[in-house]
């Protein structure tokens, strides 16, 4: 039981990070039909921005701010203007190809311009353990969970309780109508890209102390984000949260109780099952097809 609680808690922490990544992923899909195959690399990269800033002598908090700022400019603004905007008129597939190429580009750049070795990354809180019902839970897991919850709540407040957020939702649901009602649709779409950049930067700060900063991190993280988004439902923010958490917990439990060799396989099998049985995800709405 104790080990179950332990696995559950650390799974919850990982799941919360997956959820952050998946939320950004679904936001981009909802507002601009962008499927970002480079989302995993987007999480990998800010850690390197931060490490570079620290190498230049900045303290961690300042480096983290610089990292987030760089992420907003490069992974938000530039990504939108340079990659997505020129491609949108061609439809979904060319953009998919382009983001696949982008993921390769970012991965190789991190490897060639920083390092191919895994880099240690400072943790948010010193690593100590807390004992609950005989289970050992690390303060790191709790810190991760706390930051993730605060981020999600802040995002929820932004989307539901502000005029800006409602305008963004209107953009996601019906861009034409939103435009007629005076919502600056293009700017709203840009904002979702910036929000995605902030989310991946936060996820990067949370996950890098655990996985170390490595250029290949994006592969697993990207796959986790897709899987979480699909399990929960592609067109719902809360779907991404549920999907992320389910995935994180399941990943940990299956590795411990079923087979560690096939650890990576269980989420994929669930992914395939969900797509076959309930393609709009656990919480999503079915999307209509037009002739």
């Amino acid at each position: 039981m104790a080990s179950f609680i332990q696995l559950f808690a650390s799974g919850l922490a990982t799941g919360a990070i997956y959820a952050l990544i998946a939320i950004g992923f679904t936001l981009l899909w909802q507002t601009s039909q962008t499927i970002n195959f480079a989302q995993g690399e987007f999480v990998m990269l800010p850690a390197f921005f931060i490490l570079a800033a620290m190498n230049a002598g900045a303290p961690f908090w300042l480096a983290a701010l610089i990292g987030v700022a760089l992420a907003i400019v490069i992974l938000g603004l530039l990504f939108k203007i340079v990659i997505v905007d020129p491609m949108l008129r061609y439809g979904v597939l060319p953009l998919v190809i382009s983001t696949i190429a982008l993921s390769l580009f970012l991965k190789e750049s991190a490897k060639d311009f920083y390092s191919s070795q895994a880099q240690p990354f400072p943790a948010l809180v010193p690593a100590t353990d807390i004992h609950v019902f005989g289970a050992v839970i690390s303060t790191q897991s709790l810190a991760v969970l706390a930051v993730a919850v605060i981020t999600v709540v802040a995002l929820h407040v932004l989307l539901h309780n502000t005029r800006l957020g409602r305008a963004m939702q209107a953009t996601a649901q019906n861009p034409t109508l939103a435009l007629i009602l005076g919502v600056p649709v293009r700017r709203m779409v840009l904002y979702t890209f910036l929000i995605n950049a902030v989310l991946v930067a936060i996820a990067s700060i949370l996950i890098s102390p655990i996985y170390l900063a490595k250029f290949t991190n994006g592969e697993t993280l990207g796959m986790a984000a897709f899987t979480a988004a699909i399990i929960g439902g592609f067109n719902q923010v809360r779907g991404a949260i549920v999907g992320g958490i389910i995935l994180g917990i399941l990943d940990n439990l299956s590795a411990a109780y079923l087979s560690s060799q096939y650890r990576g396989a269980f989420p994929l099998l669930i992914l395939i099952a969900i797509i076959l049985l309930r393609p709009h995800g656990l919480l999503g709405r079915p999307e209509e097809r037009t002739v």
Binding site: I83, Y90, V92, L93, P94, V96, I97, A265, I275
Partner: protein, 329 residues
């Protein structure tokens, strides 16, 4: 096919036969690799370019084909049998993988096939009793036919080239048959195709299965070509690479995969000067190309030809008889 197109194909064929006589063994290895990967890319072009089903699983099928070949050869079965087995096995698995394609489209399908590729990789890595795990399979023999051994690089190249020629002729024939038309109908407007009485279910599965079996046949040549296979070669990278080949060459153009595979095989060698930065440059080039010419190199050539001859008829040089993508207004 127009005269310009026919001339270009003839010239390319003569070049492909003559080229190895002027190359060192490594050069011959590279063009053999081109011939082998082109077969897989033709299969993916069928699934993606003609039938419009996004697949990130082609690398996995190359892997299944390669392992089938290696394991059957090790067990003492003749090459021909193993070759056919690889094709049939991948046809069957591709057919099954096609079922998700019946329910979901586009990005969902991309994810299902992505998941499939990763699952195949995990099986190849973990089932050591069968695949020897991460150590891979070594010393795969090259076949001999009636005393003509393909052990020499030159012979193996001609063997691969001949296989490529036969398979692409078969694909060409199929694309001009009602099946090929049905595949294009699936891509252009599946619901309309259905309402015209086309069994879209069967054709979707068929497009997937045939595309996959070409992947398997390519793998069956890949194994004796490189003579060493390991699970890592058939992970996602290979599938991405094949996808980029089809897109870079020109998805939906019959000769797109030939061009795309050539670029993907030769570019790393030409870009030796950029040293480790090759992949960065390649990725950047793909992104630039997607912005300015998402229809690939052949699409670009077609556009240039169109500009060169403004008098209508010649514009369809590459486009003869449904061999290029339908022009969507």
């Amino acid at each position: 096919m127009s005269r310009l197109g026919a001339t270009a194909v003839m010239a390319a064929a003569i070049f492909a036969v003559a080229a190895p006589f002027f190359l060192k063994p490594f050069g011959i290895f590279l063009i053999s690799m081109w011939a082998v990967l082109t077969i897989a890319a033709i299969g993916l072009n069928l699934t993606l370019g003609y039938a419009g089903q996004v697949s990130l699983a082609q690398g996995a099928f190359v892997g299944i084909g390669a392992y089938t070949m290696a394991l059957l050869m090790q067990a003492g079965y003749p090459f021909g049998l193993a070759f056919i087995a690889a094709g049939i096995l991948c046809f069957a698995i591709g057919w099954i993988l096609g079922y998700p394609a019946l329910r979901v489209q586009h990005h969902y399908l991309a994810f299902v096939t992505l998941a499939f590729t990763t699952l195949v990789f995990l099986v190849l890595r973990n089932e050591e009793w069968l695949t020897n795990g991460i150590y891979g399979i070594n010393g795969i023999a090259r076949p001999a036919f009636l005393g003509w051994s393909t052990g020499r690089p030159l012979n193996f190249y001609f063997f691969s080239l001949a296989t490529l020629a036969v398979l692409s002729a078969a694909t060409w024939w199929m694309l001009r048959s009602p099946w090929g038309r049905a595949f294009v109908a699936l891509r252009e407007n599946p619901i309309r195709a259905l309402s015209l009485g086309l069994d879209t279910r069967r054709y979707t599965l068929m497009a997937f299965a045939i595309g996959s079996s070409l992947g398997g046949l390519s793998g069956a040549l890949y194994a004796p070509l490189v003579q060493f296979i390991d699970p890592g070669s058939f992970a996602l990278g290979m599938s991405f690479n094949l996808l980029l080949m089809v897109i870079v060459g020109g998805s939906g153009y019959f000769f797109g995969p030939f061009v795309g595979a050539l670029v993907a095989v030769l570019l790393p060698e030409w870009m030796r000067i950029t040293q480790g930065y090759y992949l960065i440059v390649y990725a950047a080039l793909v992104m630039v190309m997607m912005v300015f010419c998402p229809s690939g190199i052949l699409g670009l050539i077609e556009r240039i030809l169109k500009m060169a001859f403004r008098n209508g008829k010649t514009a369809t040089a590459l486009h003869a008889e449904g061999l290029g993508p339908e022009i969507v207004p």
